[in-house]
Amino acid sequence: MTRRITAPIALLLVGLLLIFDHATTPPNPYKAPPIFALGSGVEAVGGFCGAMPK
């Protein structure tokens, strides 16, 4: 067996995640933030591993 089997499995898992996610919580491009946070004047509110829950 070679990585020809395992590498596509990784992509398949990502694909399944995206399909499941799209079915349950589809994105709305009309609510998208400005392309750059810097200079946007909008507070950054993304999830980050260093942040305490708020």
Binding site: G41, E43, C49
Partner: protein, 374 residues
Amino acid sequence: MAEALAISAPSRLGQRGFLVLAGLAAIFAVALFAGARFGVLLAIGLGFGITLEGLRFGFAGPWRAMILRRDPSGILAQLLAIALVSIVAFPLLASHPGEIFGAQAPIGWAMVGGAFVFGAAMQVVLGCGSGTLVNAGSGNPVGLLALPFFALGSLAGSYSLVWWTDLGALPILTLTGNSGLIVTLGLLAAVAVLLLALAAPGTRRVPGRLVIAAVIVAALAIGNLVVAGQPWGVVYGLGLWAAKGAVALGVDLSGSAFWSAPGNAARLGESVLTDVTSLTNIGIIGGAFLVAAWRNGGLSQPLPKLPGKAWIATIIAGLALGYSSRLAFGCNVGAFFSGISTGSLHGWVWFAAGFAGSVLGVRLRPMLGLEARA
């Protein structure tokens, strides 16, 4: 032979062209369906994956090289990348408060213990936060198996995070402004000098490949900060994937102080294509795959023959990676790389505790059967 080469060359060219088109199509699709910012973040993630796998820039391997062979070249490249990011990040954080934030977290008992356990676990599977993503994307079966358990561990860690932090933590301590930048660069230089003093003869030169990789990784990390308003991270996205899966299976997360917090609860109801760390994580997996598929013989490597206990150890280490990185407020990326480069003192404590854990992990790895047999 010559004929075979003549036939295979155009075919290889076509295959590589397809890989480039697939990557560009994915970026365009995300930009179209989720928004331009998110397409750019996927591109940044792909850049991380391509650089980490293509130029063999990592975290767990270089720490192992220092511990086992006193070869500091990989860690020196990491320090260079962190220094480059900090030179840009410190002024940006000072001039644009609110629009961008740093990887700032409190130092506490659980944070130190979490970093130690993470350091040990990442040496067991030889893959840190970004390394596990890269390994999975390039077809390394250990990384592929560890990844889902990393996500589950991250969910479990986030569920109990507040209980752990209540054991005792200092306020968030940060280095800021020009003086903070000078202290950070001085500390990075001091660590580099210490590593060079401890280095084995003939290992003091950083290969050009790693210097190039450090510059590219730094540029991508700065891009992440400018586009997303937050530093490069890994763990949050993995925990979010597991949390969304748990909710879909009917698990009630409202009892979790972490997942019932307004920001996190809102993110459970939004697409992962609008979550910063999810996008860069997906990009890293995809970028590593692109490089493995591009590289001659990249996907034809045989899978390692490992004993059963090695696979069990991989599952446990994956869970430990996820759980401990939540308590430590990040992995080698979110805490060590981004913490230090944006002035959080928890990044420095993470570095010390994670390295101590790595010393243990390097010894555990062969005992757990993870040194592949021929």
